[in-house]
Symmetry: C2
Subunit: 330 residues, 2 copies
Amino acid sequence: MQNVTIGDVAKAAGVSPATVSRVLNANQGVADELRQRVVAAVDQLGYRPNSQARSLRTRATSVLGLIISDITNPFFPEIARGVEDAAHAAGFSVVLANTDEDLAKEQRYLEVAAAERMAGVVLAPASSAETDIDVLRSRGIPVVTVDRRLLGHPVDSVTVDNLAAAREATLHLVGTGCRRIGFVGGPLATTTAADRLAGYRDGLAEAGLAFDPDLVAHGDYRIDGGRAAAKRLLQLTPDALFVSNNLMTIGAITALDDAGLRHPEDIALVGFDDQTWQTGLLPPLTLVTQPTYELGKQAATALLDRIRTPEAPPNDVVLPATLAVHEPRR
Amino acid sequence: MQNVTIGDVAKAAGVSPATVSRVLNANQGVADELRQRVVAAVDQLGYRPNSQARSLRTRATSVLGLIISDITNPFFPEIARGVEDAAHAAGFSVVLANTDEDLAKEQRYLEVAAAERMAGVVLAPASSAETDIDVLRSRGIPVVTVDRRLLGHPVDSVTVDNLAAAREATLHLVGTGCRRIGFVGGPLATTTAADRLAGYRDGLAEAGLAFDPDLVAHGDYRIDGGRAAAKRLLQLTPDALFVSNNLMTIGAITALDDAGLRHPEDIALVGFDDQTWQTGLLPPLTLVTQPTYELGKQAATALLDRIRTPEAPPNDVVLPATLAVHEPRR
DNA sequence: CGATTTCTTGAAATCGATTTCTCAGAAGTT
DNA sequence: AACTTCTGAGAAATCGATTTCAAGAAATCG
């Protein structure tokens, strides 16, 4: 009884395989009596269709790929839940792969997705320029990027308005009296890092402050990178730090601590992303918060739309990111 | 050029599909000239075998399932990396699914794994008694549980020695002078929670202290649950808390803060799991640390072994968990 | 009532790979 | 030289589903 096939069910029910298929896929009218015999046989044998055989024939799978760049960053698991929920509601299942911001790993997973003929892929690309999705596109597998965009490929994307949020955060700091605002940026290969930097510059310009390249340090979107970048900036005695990513925010807090500085007394700090993680552990902090779960959900929705209508022009969904001001008086 | 098949390659190279297959799978001798023609055609057409068709024929996939219970707990992503690394080294790819400790979701993913005919599954079961892996076993799909065991099913498992670690942590607290040690336990449906509780009791007994059921509160392995459980215990004025999970440890710290208590001055605290996350944010804390990455790696290794030799008797791998004492003087 | 349409159902083709079968020609043996 | 043994390569079978095609029964209609 290792593997029950549609033929076994057919035999048990005294019908043809075609009829079993029709019952299971509710395709056409099947006489009630036969239908019941088939259902009973399916139940009794514990039959479960071989999805390989099925999708070989139908040329369609119901599996979505989700390729993210850092699974240990809680931001992405939260996106994953959004994707999963939307996908399951539509009868798709989701498989997740982690690239660790490594282009080679990313490429390999894109190839796996192609070989598996996945129905579509949600991707947080490691690089806006170097990530190459041709292996999918040439096979007609739709791609939606999430969190980050891809330059030079006309694909759907679901992102937040990083520029506006960074601009707003910068203006907020200026509003509280800061003049030398250090910026801890991300890897410039990602659009998020570029957009957030641009927002920071826009904010400064709007406030009539000069942009000083020395006050910008780039980290790798990880704790240690944020710590090192913040450490470098602190030597220039800024009166504020704006850290453009959740993990790096933790690193920056550590760097402040290392330097014997306290927020908000000694220096102002604005961080990025929800830190639900840190409930009660973090000092109160003004944060740029993103609708993370929603980001994933919308990305999956966009992908499912794209699967249904492959030919529509690419669509960029931009969700708002909001500034959650949580600043104790200084 | 949507989909290149083996037949297209064969035609382009002027050989039969069988020969193309032989070249690609290095099965048999193929004349050098033909081989080169085939390789050239594959390259030129960008041919990639349809893995559905292949595994339909070979009855073997090279995909492992990894079913975990809480993707937002950094413990599991770290396991995932261990699994991925070991799997990739052996030419397998890994797909990940998240159950949120929900038995229904878990069951659905087990069924997906069965339908996809995955080569094997690494599972962190939501319940030691209620999780039902028959849908896989009856189809000959091997299962290895990780972090947690499954009672009543003879399957391989890779866990840490929770009992010994909890015992050691308890004895450590007693050694620093604590007498009323509160215990924040996990959901009793998991073997980890049961084992850690047993270790706590063993430790107390060994130290000659009575076990007081009132000093035990069970949380759900999440931050809020840990916070609530710790809050309840704090009303009984314990002189120490032993928290048996990483997220709940964060919750407990918050609860201490809520109650205006400070560690270590007012109350001793021992937590669980690496909190690399918290670098620099946490007060220095004695922690039971687990070899998380290794847990995942060994689980994948065990699964691959099992795939090769299905008939060997089940094997329980138990890794040590160590107590990292990091206690400032009181 | 006979002709035509509509339903049900089973037989057979199909998806794209791998693997078994088969056979022609090369190589080896006595 | 005659016979056996290898070897390499194509033809065809196979994996397990869905879908087209064909046929007989039932229903509809003039």
